[in-house]
């Protein structure tokens, strides 16, 4: 499945397909103009001007936002930020807070780039979490719990994918139905109770640190790295961009669009399964109402990160930055003791601002946007 790095030509290495795969010349056509990957400037001198460097520019903008948020934190709570051990601890806290939503967002980014949407991620996290903390599952130990969460997550994602691609349901409707149904099943299994996890190994995932860095942060890093490689360095990733950019062209190019769509939703479900283990470990319990509205957090983070809601464009690094920005805002409001009402308003404002800025700054994409269903992004 995986191709090596494309043989770069001087001007547009990103848009050029790997030479080895027969489908890829057409993929480039399906993708259209300048797919921006989060590859962080692939050695191009003109990354700040060329189409290929667009993702890099966008991500630098997000890092700018992050710096501003941290500066606000330093300005408002100089007493806390004066303590270097507290600052290090705070960075880890922000990353830990971002870890669960971050893993979900990686899967969500793939689905959105592939032209879909997954509204059921929060519900899948809850279902996988509840399923892996039933007494029967807990009796199999940590391995059984992890296996259960991953398989449940992937299977639910698989059902989503089958409904969307073979059942020809609109992704919004199929996953909306799954959101309701999966929470219902979770409530059924848990008997509407909070299920406490007694497994020390699972609970330890949230409290263990290696070399001073929490295990949760390593998991996030691993998932993000795997997602980045999958999106940018494999045919699977290129097909995802192609399918999302123009499914018809992708189909004519010989990509099995339907099967690919199924795989994308299964991938999202798998990410939810991983997130379910992390969240269960953090809360040392699971219940049907857990991971409430994570779908919105994940979609918002992906959009802020520059993923086009109509598909065909997006970066993993951008999505990660989006998640970290949100958890930094949460942290900023917490350390200043401000209300969550104000926090939610700021979050909403940032989502709108991010999309407005993207529309304004990337006029060259107007034509590309016009061809898709959702021009407003």
């Amino acid at each position: 499945m995986s191709d090596s790095t494309p043989t770069a030509t001087p001007d547009r290495p990103e848009a050029l397909p790997p030479q080895s795969s027969p489908v890829d010349p057409a993929v480039a056509g399906a993708v259209g103009k300048g797919p921006a990957h989060g590859s962080g400037g692939t050695g191009q001198l003109s990354w700040w001007r060329g189409d290929g460097g667009e993702g890099t520019r966008r991500n630098l903008g997000l890092i700018g936002v992050l710096v501003v948020l941290i500066l606000i934190g330093i300005a408002t709570r100089p007493d806390l930020y004066g303590d270097s051990s507290w600052v290090w601890n705070n960075i880890l806290t922000i990353l830990k807070l971002a870890s669960v939503v971050g893993v979900v967002t990686v899967g969500m980014t793939f689905v959105i780039i592939g032209g879909g949407i997954d509204l059921s991620v929060g519900a899948i996290v809850a279902l996988a979490g509840v399923w892996c903390t039933t007494l029967a599952t807990q009796s199999y130990g940590a391995g059984g719990m992890i296996f259960t969460a991953l398989v449940v997550g992937m299977c639910v994602g698989l059902v989503n994918g089958l409904l969307v691609s073979y059942g020809k349901l609109v992704p919004f409707i199929a996953t909306l139905a799954m959101m309701v149904a999966a929470r219902g099943l979770a409530a059924q299994i848990s008997g509407k109770q909070t299920q406490v996890s007694d497994n020390a190994a699972i609970n330890g995932i949230a409290s263990t640190s290696l070399l001073g860095i929490p295990l949760l942060v390593y998991i996030l890093a691993a998932v993000v790295a795997a997602g980045w490689v999958l999106l940018n360095r494999t045919t699977f990733g290129r097909r995802t961009v192609a399918v999302g950019g123009n499914p018809e062209a992708a189909r004519l190019a010989g990509i099995n669009v339907r099967r690919h769509t199924v795989l994308l939703y299964a991938l999202s479900g798998l990410c939810c399964g991983i997130a379910a283990i992390m969240l269960t470990a953090q809360a040392t319990s699971a219940q049907a109402a857990m991971a409430n509205l994570y779908e919105l957090d994940a979609i918002a983070a992906a959009i802020i990160g520059g993923t086009l809601l109509s598909g065909g464009r997006g970066t993993i690094v951008g999505s990660l930055l989006g998640v970290i920005i949100f958890s930094t805002i949460t942290n900023l409001f917490a350390i200043n003791g401000l209300s969550t009402e104000a926090q939610n308003m700021v979050k909403g404002g940032i989502i709108v601002a991010a999309v407005l800025v993207q529309q304004f700054q990337f006029r060259s994409f107007t034509q590309f946007l016009g061809r898709n269903r959702l021009t407003t992004g």
């Binding site: 806290t93 830990k96 039933t134 007494l135 029967a136 509407k192 949230a206 917490a334």
Partner: protein, 352 residues
């Protein structure tokens, strides 16, 4: 190409087999055979001539929101169990669905069936006031469980927990402990539940008012959503914002599981915590005395059992036997009690 497709079909077979096996294994994993928590009922008094001697047959209609939380689940369980304890009660339950509109619809079908009494826990007292009025107009007495109707004509009996009093009780415990330790300017944190709910605001007001009377105030307040995972996140934020804490009040013991997890994950021990609602696990933790949780203030779902008992009396036209009045009173507000290590054992049977 043929080689390719043969590979694919073999892969498919392997995948299919693995999927089937995993599926079979997983379905086996849904069983959850914990001994269910005993419902909080009052056994029928054996004394002859008491109120519990079987009387006129009473049909009680019951409606409560679909439970996604331990407390709500306990409400429904308790109501059912209490009704089953009476031989002269016919118990009819309608699912109230996900919101006020769904509950309104469910209630009108219930009213059409003409039960003798309706017991309901409304999604929102204000929004379902009209439904209460409608039932009362149809001649069916309404027992409102926990979420008050603004209109006095909309109910025959209101039985509620004391949200404000819960805050007062928590603050009183914290103030007493801190005074005993001689802390003059304590750092107090608060982790409420869903902040937009009136009950949360009342709890927080009772807490803040009582602390203010002692000259203390809440240093930081991070709302969660009554779930363990949101409690964990809110607590992590709170602990990060306050490097040194003296006391924390967490409004809800279900979300408290997550709050305690966050406390353990950060290894903080310098403060003590008070819980809320009174879950079984919280009481056990208090008894074991090995966490920061030292007390919890009750908001007991046992009120559902009492509501059913009182609804039966209303249906039979009887009063409460210890009172002089011949009819059941119109309003009952339960006191919020403070459970500590000393008295936890006597409350354990009321934990949910």
């Amino acid at each position: 190409m043929t080689q390719h497709s043969r590979d694919l079909s073999r892969r498919r077979l392997l995948f299919g087999g693995a999927a089937l096996g995993a599926g079979a294994l997983l379905v086996g994993c849904t069983s959850n055979e914990a001994a269910p928590t005993a419902a909080q009922t009052k056994a029928a008094d054996t004394a002859a001539g008491g109120n519990s001697t079987p009387g006129k047959k009473v049909t009680i209609g019951f409606s409560a929101p679909a439970a996604d939380h331990g407390w709500l689940a306990a409400i429904t369980t308790n109501a059912k169990a209490q009704a089953a304890a009476y031989s002269d009660v016919d118990f009819k339950t309608v699912e109230a669905g996900a919101d006020a509109a769904a509950q309104r619809a469910a209630l009108s079908t219930l009213i059409a069936q003409k039960p003798d009494v309706i017991v309901m826990l409304p999604h929102d007292g204000k929004e379902l006031n009209a439904a209460g009025l409608e039932a009362m107009k149809a001649g069916i007495p309404v027992v409102n469980l926990d979420r008050a109707f603004p209109d006095a004509l909309a109910y025959r009996l209101q039985i509620m927990g004391d949200n404000y009093g819960m805050g007062v009780a928590a603050a009183n415990y914290i103030v007493a402990q801190l005074k005993a330790k001689g802390v003059s300017t304590p750092v107090i944190g608060e982790i409420p539940g869903i902040d937009s709910l009136e009950l949360t605001q009342q709890r927080s007001k009772g807490f803040a008012d009582t602390l203010a009377a002692a000259g203390f105030k809440v240093a930081n307040r991070r709302p969660a959503e009554f779930t363990a995972d949101s409690g964990q996140q809110a607590a992590t934020g709170l602990l990060q914002a306050l490097p040194k804490i003296d006391a924390v009040w967490n409004h809800d013991d279900d979300q408290g599981i997550g709050v305690l997890a966050a406390v353990n994950q950060t290894g903080r021990k310098e403060f003590f915590m008070v819980g809320g609602a009174g879950s079984k696990k919280a009481m056990e933790d208090i008894q074991a005395d090995n966490t920061v949780l030292k007390a919890t203030v009750t908001y007991s779902p046992s009120m559902a059992s009492s509501a059913i008992s009182l609804a039966r009396l209303i249906g039979q036209g009887k009063g409460m036997s210890d009172l002089v009045e011949l009819q059941v009173p119109k309003e009952i507000v339960l006191a919020s009690e403070t459970i500590t290590k000393e008295n936890a054992s006597s409350y354990l049977k009321l934990g949910f």
